[in-house]
């Protein structure tokens, strides 16, 4: 034997192959890489932006001394009432009410007793005088010795009595009363009368208090909650922009804020005189108001000198019961105290409060709020002058404060889910691709395994490409996320919310969620697929026998024409790929359902809402009678009175405010059917839809601040999607809510009502009010939604490209073979591409339905946590658009596939024949 030369053990040459694999198949990897970079970048940007803004919002609570809640009273109370409220102690209502009732009853009791005593005294004096006079007259007659007839005696007696009464009765009575008032008897009588009256009062107060205590759980678990109370008065006014006559908005103007709910001045300066105002930055942008412009609040002109973000109006909710914020027509402003005086509308006695002892967490904050509400209710009720609570909103439940933050959080979670789903889809595509590669390279793998390569070494090799792609994508995606996409995300939120300035914070969470989790997903999915295949013996690889279970016989196909049977074989052979195609298209369709369905829903509401109004105008009056007690009437043709109220429908998740309407008999605007039973009510389709109520069902409504509830039955569902509502005849409305028989709240009219004094009108509800939700949503997301549609098409195209490429690659040999047999490219395309086309089209149709119903379900879940309701609407054009977008993507890919098929050389079949 000759001398043998040995060399060094080389590094694993498969490592070199990883890079070559990536280069060889660069189009596939580039597409997956691009998808991951964009998604990771966007999600990473969202995380960084949202985290920075959320941190800023949380920090601003302290920085801008944000309220812990606010309440509005019906009038400005006396300082002692505010002091009592600030003490956070519950008023002893029973004691106060009793004392007040005792005090109120005392004069009556005294008067009654005195009257009784006086009557008795007068009787007694009269009797004494009569006795004395009779005795004197009889003595006089006896002294005269004459026998007088009775009638003469009576006459004498009468005269004498009259004289005596005139002379001494009053004095005697007066003297006797003087004596009586000091007598023990009088005191006893007074005391007894007081006792009796007090007992009656006690019984009545106990009864009333029990009701109230039950409703607000006043007697349970109470600890005083001392708070700082701050005046935060505001006036609501119409907003006009002199330079934009078409603009109609509303503005809530506050006077100078110094102690609580401060603001972040984003540009300009604070108002310095009675003609200057700062307004919300978001609204200013929407309404095209700039610093230096003039706005009118109820006629009073102000120059805008600054744009701000008010810490209690991060999202412009006019009312906490509104379904959606409205940064388009609702504005918040702040003026000096003198400027405040210039606005003529009614002042709202609104007060902000902060807890003296800050709660540790949300749970504790809720407890404090509950306890403070009890204190507030009792102290307001205990006020000497009648004081009603008009509004109470703790900060944690205040949408204007929390909605943006919640939305930021939800969006983060949602975008994370989209990233994970997309990564999982891509990981499966990788896995399908690898599994196809393993099949293609079965001989080499078998040889390597037979030569002694371990499964682990091969596993690591085949895992390298997807993991390298995901790591590279994560690094580049994160770099883009922290730079480009962060600004896009911030831009999106600044377009909707009145956010304060923020500082970009570098969060490790973004890196973990956009790198570690996709990496783990990619690793896990590919690991499972590759390990499953590598479990096969080397011999199986050498024999290309990679099916775990081998069919004994081929599937028998019906006696169709050859082409059809061939295509069915192609289908059967590629079922795993088509399954992935199904998952991928479903994923895209779900996204498309959102991005096509949302504008569809919004435009449906924008288009149909004006038509959905009961009448073109709903006028809400301050009262149904004017100052003189005369019923406010209108001569407007077709106007009819209507009553409006609100009750709560309570579920575990949410207490929903439901409008309750009392309608005129044979109303021309709301034509519900007649109801015979007093507890049969019609409800709107929106109410029925949101809470799945049907005719015959019973439902319970609650008074918001009283311990009253009403259980009614659904008599019918009235087609009205604009609001959650209950309808009943006006007489029943007045009866149920204990109002005057002829009372009503306002008018419905198709003509503008002009003959009612504006002072008596609280609000005119027009179609603009109804579509403000749709308008705001359209404004917030409308610009981006088109881009998302394109992104969906790109995702669809990439997924289709990746999967159809695998199918064609898998069939390269048979394609080369049929080419040799003389089939033309067109025929081959019919064999291989038509199968995929049919699968894509059927999948599209199924996925459209699945996407629509899944989106509808998700929409309903989302609506359960929001006030109001509107149904998810997908217009037929929406479905066509979805179908057209994905089909367009597929057609594009089909062209690529056709070119790919044409490029497959015939010799391939001969070269690889083993």
């Amino acid at each position: 034997m000759e001398k043998i030369s040995f060399g060094k053990r080389p590094k694993n040459p498969l490592h070199k192959r990883v890079w070559r694999d990536l280069l060889r198949d660069w189009k596939r990897y580039l597409m997956i890489f691009a998808m991951l970079v964009v998604t990771i970048g966007f999600v990473s940007g969202m995380y960084v932006a949202n985290n920075s803004m959320m941190t800023s919002l949380n920090g601003n609570a302290a920085k801008f001394r944000r309220e812990d809640g606010h309440f509005e009273l019906s009038r400005i109370p006396e300082p002692e009432v505010l002091e009592a409220i600030a003490s956070g102690k519950k008023a002893d209502m029973v004691k106060i009410f009793r004392e007040r009732a005792y005090r109120d009853a005392e004069p009556e009791i005294v008067d009654a007793v005195r009257e009784a005593v006086e009557e008795t005294v007068r009787e007694q004096v009269r009797a004494a005088i009569t006795e004395q006079v009779t005795a004197a007259v009889d003595a006089q007659i006896a002294e005269a010795g004459a026998e007088l007839p009775d009638d003469m005696r009576q006459e004498m007696l009468s005269q004498a009595l009259e004289t005596a009464m005139e002379e001494s009765y009053d004095k005697a009575v007066s003297d006797a009363l003087k004596e009586a008032w000091d007598s023990e008897e009088y005191k006893d009588a007074l005391s007894k009368a007081e006792d009796k009256a007090h007992k009656k009062i006690d019984r009545e107060i106990d009864k009333e208090y029990t009701k109230l205590a039950e409703r607000y759980e006043l007697d349970r678990n109470f600890d005083p909650v001392p708070v700082n109370v701050y005046e935060l008065f505001f006036k609501n006014a119409d907003e006009h922009i002199p330079d934009d006559a078409a603009f109609e908005g509303k503005i809530r103007v506050y006077n100078t804020r110094k102690e609580v709910d401060l603001f972040d001045l984003l540009s300009g300066r604070a108002p310095q005189n009675d003609r200057e105002i700062i307004i919300d930055r978001m609204h200013a942008e929407n309404a095209g108001i700039q610093i230096g412009d003039t706005v009118k609040a109820d006629g009073a002109e102000f120059e805008v000198v600054g744009l701000a973000s008010f810490t209690d109006y991060i999202t412009l909710y006019e009312s906490n019961t509104d379904t959606m914020f409205d940064a388009l027509t609702f504005d918040v402003g702040m003026v000096t105290d003198e400027g405040f005086a210039r606005i003529g509308t009614a002042l709202h006695a609104n007060y902000a409060f902060t807890y003296k002892n800050k709660p540790a967490d949300l749970y504790e904050e809720k407890t404090l709020s509950d306890h403070f509400l009890k204190a507030l209710i009792t102290q307001a009720a205990a006020a000497e002058k009648e004081t009603e609570i008009k509004d109470y909103v703790p900060a944690f439940a205040n949408l204007a404060i929390n909605f943006a933050e919640d939305d930021l959080g939800t969006d983060m979670a949602m975008s994370g889910v989209i990233l994970y789903v997309l990564t999982a889809v891509l990981a499966f595509i990788f896995a399908v691709n690898i599994s196809s590669t393993l099949e293609k390279e079965a001989s080499s793998i078998g040889t390597l395994r037979a030569s002694g390569f371990t499964k682990g070494e091969l596993l690591r090799y085949y895992m390298s490409a997807p993991l390298l792609v995901v790591i590279l994508a994560a690094v580049i995606g994160n770099v883009l996320g922290y730079t480009v996409f962060k600004d896009i995300a911030v831009g999106m939120y600044y377009l909707s919310y009145s956010l304060p300035t923020y500082e970009t914070l570098w969060t490790p969470e973004a890196f973990i969620r956009t790198t570690i989790i996709p990496f783990v997903l990619m690793l896990a999915i590919n690991f499972v697929v590759i390990v499953r295949m590598l479990r096969l013996s080397p011999l199986k690889f050498l024999r290309h026998d990679l099916k775990k279970t081998r069919r004994k016989k081929a599937v028998r196909l019906p006696r169709w024409r050859f082409f059809r049977r061939f295509r069915l074989r192609v289908f059967l052979q590629n079922i795993p790929n088509y399954l992935m195609l199904f998952v991928g298209i479903n994923f895209v369709m779900l996204l498309l359902s959102l991005v096509v369905g949302l504008p569809s829903t919004l435009s449906y509401y924008q288009d149909t809402m004006p038509g959905m109004m009961f009448a073109k105008e709903q006028v809400l009056l301050t009262d149904y009678k004017d100052e003189d007690g005369e019923i406010i009437r209108t001569a407007t043709e077709g106007a009819e009175p209507v009553s409006m109220g609100a009750l709560e429908y309570r579920t575990e998740k949410y207490n929903e405010e439901i409008s309750v309407y009392g309608i005129a008999e044979n109303s021309r605007y709301i034509s519900t059917g007649k109801t015979d039973k007093p507890d049969d009510m019609w409800i709107s389709t929106a109410f029925a839809g949101k809470y799945h109520l049907n005719t015959g069902d019973s439902f319970t409504m609650h008074e918001k601040y009283e311990n009253k509830q009403y259980t009614w039955h659904v008599a019918g569902v009235y087609s009205y999607d604009a609001a959650l509502a209950v309808f009943m005849p006006n007489e029943r409305f007045n009866e149920i809510f204990e109002r005057d028989a002829d009372a009503f709240s306002g008018y419905l009219s198709d003509e503008t009502i002009t003959d009612i004094d504006e002072k008596q009108i609280v609000k005119r509800i027009t179609s603009d009010d109804m579509i403000k939700i749709a308008n705001q949503l359209d404004h917030s997301i409308g610009n981006y939604i088109v881009y998302f549609q394109y992104i969906c098409v790109i995702i669809a195209a990439i997924i289709l490209y990746l999967l159809t490429k695998i199918i064609i690659e898998k069939n390269e040999l048979p394609i080369a073979m049929v080419k040799i047999l003389g089939y033309e490219d067109g025929e081959i395309a019919r064999l291989y591409l038509l199968t995929t086309a049919v699968v894509v089209i059927i999948t599209e149709l199924i996925a459209m339905a699945i996407g629509f119903y899944a989106m509808k379900l998700m929409w309903e879940i989302m609506m359960q946590t929001l006030g109001g309701y509107f149904t998810f609407i997908m217009k037929p054009e929406g479905f066509i658009k979805e179908f057209a977008l994905v089909t367009a993507a597929y057609l594009l890919i089909t062209v690529c596939d056709f070119i790919r098929i044409r490029r497959i050389p015939k010799v391939l079949a001969l070269k690889n024949a083993e």
């Binding site: 034997m1 590094k11 040459p13 694999d21 390569f453």
Partner: protein, 238 residues
């Protein structure tokens, strides 16, 4: 030659069948033979005689139903999958009819995949020269002829200097001239590195260059002969 070297590979009572019940087919029906160290052993037989199955069982990529195999004293059936892999890694080299090269690794890198498995591989450049591939070392498999690809395949198997080189119809896909070249190469390798070579072939002519010829038919050994008048591969004709 010591007893251990003489009985370098021992096969006793080896049986193997495929299928069950009516479809059961006995492929190997009790084989007994030994192969000496450094011997060039040819397994001959017609298609379906069981020669490839025997080779696969010897190579530890298939298992026998009965019987035992001892290679250098190590019992194959006592080994679990992991040990078998390790065993193949350290002691066996495989050459297949269809080369099974990795398409996007060049000649040298394909041979390196074999070298990587050994702690003490042969000098690759020297091996490339022996294989006649030094000039082609940076070419990819699809740039080579069938014969050149098979040379690479032999190089990949031999570079780790295995105790046994298992060749399954290495000339099956090659023309006469190229086949002879490959056989010459295998002969050269056997002489230079002293590996035991077990080659499966249905080419009767090849028996003349082998030290040891085992002829199979219907799963049984019909002949087990040592060649006394061995000729070189160059002298072969068929």
């Amino acid at each position: 030659m010591s007893e251990a070297e003489r009985k370098f590979l021992e096969v006793h009572g080896l049986k193997k069948s495929f299928g069950t019940g009516d479809t059961k087919q006995d492929v190997l029906r009790g084989l007994d033979f030994t192969v000496s160290k450094g011997e060039f052993c040819v397994l001959l037989g017609p298609s379906g005689s069981g020669k490839s199955t025997l080779l696969n069982i010897l190579g530890g990529i298939d298992s026998a139903d009965e019987g035992e195999i001892l290679i250098n004293g190590d019992k194959l059936e006592d080994m679990n999958e992991k040990s078998l892999t390790r065993y193949r890694r350290k002691h066996l080299g495989y050459v297949f009819q269809s080369y099974n090269l990795i398409p996007n690794l060049n000649v040298k890198e394909n041979i390196e995949t074999g070298a990587y498995l050994s702690d003490k591989p042969l000098d690759i450049d020297e091996l490339l020269k022996i294989l006649g591939l030094f000039e082609h070392r940076y070419k990819l498999p699809n740039q080579l002829s069938g014969g050149q690809q098979q040379r690479v395949s032999i190089g990949r198997a031999i570079v780790k200097n295995p105790d046994i080189l298992l060749c399954d119809e290495p000339t099956g896909a090659l023309d006469y001239t190229t086949s002879k070249e490959i056989l010459q190469l295998i002969e050269e390798v056997n002489q230079k590195y002293g590996n035991t070579i077990i080659m499966v072939t249905h080419n009767e002519a090849i028996r003349r260059m082998a030290d040891h010829v085992i002829k199979l038919r219907d799963g049984k050994i019909r002949h087990d002969d040592r060649n006394t008048e061995k000729i070189t591969a160059a002298e072969l004709e068929w």
